[in-house]
Symmetry: C2
Subunit: 453 residues, 2 copies
């Protein structure tokens, strides 16, 4: 679509980013730094993650500025000097950003985004970057598990009502589509992102007619080519029989009932009943869609029992990544200097929160068939074998990277899934993928920790 | 603040709401209905819930319309008739809405919002209402548990980076403030909602100076009255000693160090060490703030061990309601008729998803001291003892209700907490509160289920 979501506000920021910037402005105006954005620990039940969110980040970088209302509000806080507020009024991002493209498989400790910039600028974008990568990567990484579980069956995002707010509802639709879902019910996500839309009907629709068959008739005559009938408002088996009748009526008029939806009860048994009833009536083409509190485990169970389900409406659990609703995503300083020519590697030594210093790159090693073997986390200047995963996307404030179409990202995810070792794709057994620390990075880490300790 | 968040789009809707509306438009243009928005089941680890989200809903009702771009997009889907698109272009909400005010304690099965309207209108607002109530009520209900655990100590929302997107980041700041948090780090939440802002400094700030003490000095000279020093970037005990020095320096110049922040390690031991070091140096007024993956359980543990912590920065777990990241919030038809004078009670009979029919009200029974005893879920026309919790907030499309200031809602929450039985406030033991079904509602339920079965 031409229309893009509203611009991201520069005020989407933690107060401390601004107070620290005021200090830098006073003491270290020319200081430069490198920050790594990465996931510290794998969320539970996950063996791999899928990047998402870069498109929003690049749009943010392009548009980032403080409006006059923003400055007025900041002035009212009585935290900031006029000189600093003037600096903010002219604020733009001038740094470099390296990032993994959206749809890349990655693992903890690997920088997904690396920012090198004047420290004030690098610091100010922290909150937006973390927030954006957190929700979108978390959801893509959950949705792709549903894709694995569904083994080629269609998946539909029905999560709008249960996502955490409006922004999440859009980002979930996009992230799940990118991960391999077929469509979303979210009309605005269709509008903004061009994602195909899907939908059926609600129980209340059926209830608002004097009888189930009347409701089915009203819907199927309005949308003779696009009807999916929800059959379990009262008695699911009776509902299925009525749907069969509607399917036959449509067929007589040269139309095809698209499907029926089962939203409660024993999905496996009901699907078996429905498939037989539909087939016996010559309606082999009518699809059976299941919904109702589904997640990757339930999808795998339903299909594991051989249920004749052709597609799944997935809402709540995917849309909130309910078993792991947080990604331990952090943004850590890895180099700093008083100007851009004097950057020195640094690291954090806090208990349990030690980080790797220096300007890093991730190298992916594949075998001859293209299957992922291991990753190496090394220094940028190293050249081990393997494909470097971080690409330069912003150069001195200018966005270089052209975000590919969502279809292209979907294809990248599909390819990556094919290249992932089977053990890593297991739904129920968490497996550690090998991320090696290069000898040079290991040596640097020892050096820097000695220097700082 | 004068400025309000951007208007809510009418496209924030599931496709099926629009396709069902197209059917209603064709077959039942004058049909009216009542829908109840309620929580079906208590989320785990919760014994009570706190309403939040009404302000956004009323703003949405006021502004709701389809713009010309929206209509253009909907036309492109080839689902809708021109007559129906014309109807949408003139769409406004004309119904009545009853709601519990924000900050009300409530329990599963109790309608939080009740909508009576032309069925097309009542249906179209479903997605927005559910999404809004879900995130805000879920967070208020999580945050209030932190408030109970903190027993009067200050709580600060630091969750921006881990909430599910931008909208959630704002709504979490507002919902947690409403529940009793003192401040947020989220600058835009301060801007929109007038919530007090709080913040300290990041590890990267400390690391970007040649030494910890230099970083402390730079910050405290920039903000001599507003400094909270983060002391655990390298060695926390050494960091605390340096903070003491800074505190003494500030004191010499007539300023007061506000606090120190502990973000890792053994908070109880470090707080003991810090309190003694500060007190020994005459810095009794310097506060100790703890942060780092806190939730209500950790806060209770820390305070239970007698730790000298004066306030808590709470992020991730509160901001995502991580132990229960979903509210089982639903919107169910309870009355329907072909016009507004013929509404008849209806209910859903799907396995495990049975609902109560009819136009309902919630009555709260208190004892003489004002302590909550039980609630009665009854029919609107009944008049049992007890205070009715649903108020009329929209009358034939016109918003009647004036949303109180956030401070007022905070006060309501505080009062409600005082009136809640102690057992319901237990953090670690889930307790069922008595919600009785009135005899009249029970009789109606039996009648309607017989009629529909």
């Amino acid at each position: 679509m031409k229309t893009v979501p509203p611009r991201h506000s520069a005020l989407l920021v933690d107060l401390y980013e601004l107070t620290m910037a005021q200090c830098y402005f006073r003491y270290k105006q020319h200081a430069h730094a490198t920050f790594d954005l990465f996931v510290r620990q794998m969320p539970r039940n996950r063996s791999f993650l899928i990047t998402a969110g870069l498109e929003d980040i690049l749009q943010y970088i392009r548009q980032l500025h403080f409006g006059s209302d923003d400055i007025k509000y900041l002035r009212s806080l009585k935290f900031f000097s006029e000189a600093f507020l003037e600096y903010l009024a002219d604020f733009k991002f001038h740094g470099d950003i390296w990032a993994m493209p959206e749809g890349t498989v990655f693992f903890p400790q690997e920088p997904v985004i690396r920012v090198t910039a004047p420290i004030m600028e690098a610091q100010l974008i922290e909150g937006f970057l973390l927030n954006t990568i957190n929700i979108q990567t978390m959801i893509a990484s959950k949705a792709v598990r549903c894709v694995l579980a569904a083994g080629g069956k269609g998946l539909f995002d029905f999560s709008l009502r249960r996502t955490h707010g409006q922004d999440a509802s859009l980002k979930v639709a996009r992230s799940s589509y990118l991960a391999g879902f077929e469509a979303t019910s979210h009309v605005q996500a269709g509008y903004y992102y061009g994602i195909p839309l899907a939908g059926t009907m609600a129980h209340s629709f059926v209830m608002s007619f004097a009888s189930e068959i009347e409701a089915f008739f009203a819907y199927s005559s309005t949308f003779p080519q696009k009807t999916v009938l929800l059959v379990d408002t009262y008695d699911a088996r009776k509902g299925i029989r009525k749907a069969v009748k509607i399917g036959q009526e449509l067929a007589k008029r040269g139309h095809r009932l698209v499907g029926i939806r089962l939203d409660s009860g024993n999905i496996v048994a009901l699907a078996r009943f429905a498939r037989k009833a539909l087939d016996d009536a010559g309606l082999q083409y009518v699809k059976i869609i299941a919904s109702g509190n589904l997640d990757e485990y339930k999808i795998a169970d339903i299909l594991g029992k051989g249920a004749a389900v052709d597609g799944f409406g997935v809402g709540t659990h995917m849309g909130t990544s309910s078993d792991a609703p947080v990604l331990d995503v952090i943004y850590k300083l890895s180099e700093v200097g008083d100007n851009k020519h004097s950057l020195m590697p640094v690291m954090k030594l806090s208990t349990g929160k030690v980080t790797y210093p220096g300007r890093k790159q991730v190298f992916r090693i594949n075998d001859r068939k293209g299957v992922f073997v291991k990753d190496i986390l090394g220094l940028e200047k190293e050249t081990p074998d393997g494909q470097p995963l971080l690409e330069k996307v912003v150069d001195r404030g200018k966005v270089l990277y052209v975000c590919p179409a969502l279809e292209h990202i979907r294809a990248r995810v599909r390819e990556s899934l094919n290249a992932l070792p089977a053990a890593i794709k297991e739904l129920r057994k968490v497996q550690m993928y090998a991320v090696e620390i290069s000898p040079a990075l290991r040596a640097l880490t020892v050096d820097v920790s000695r220097r700082l300790a």
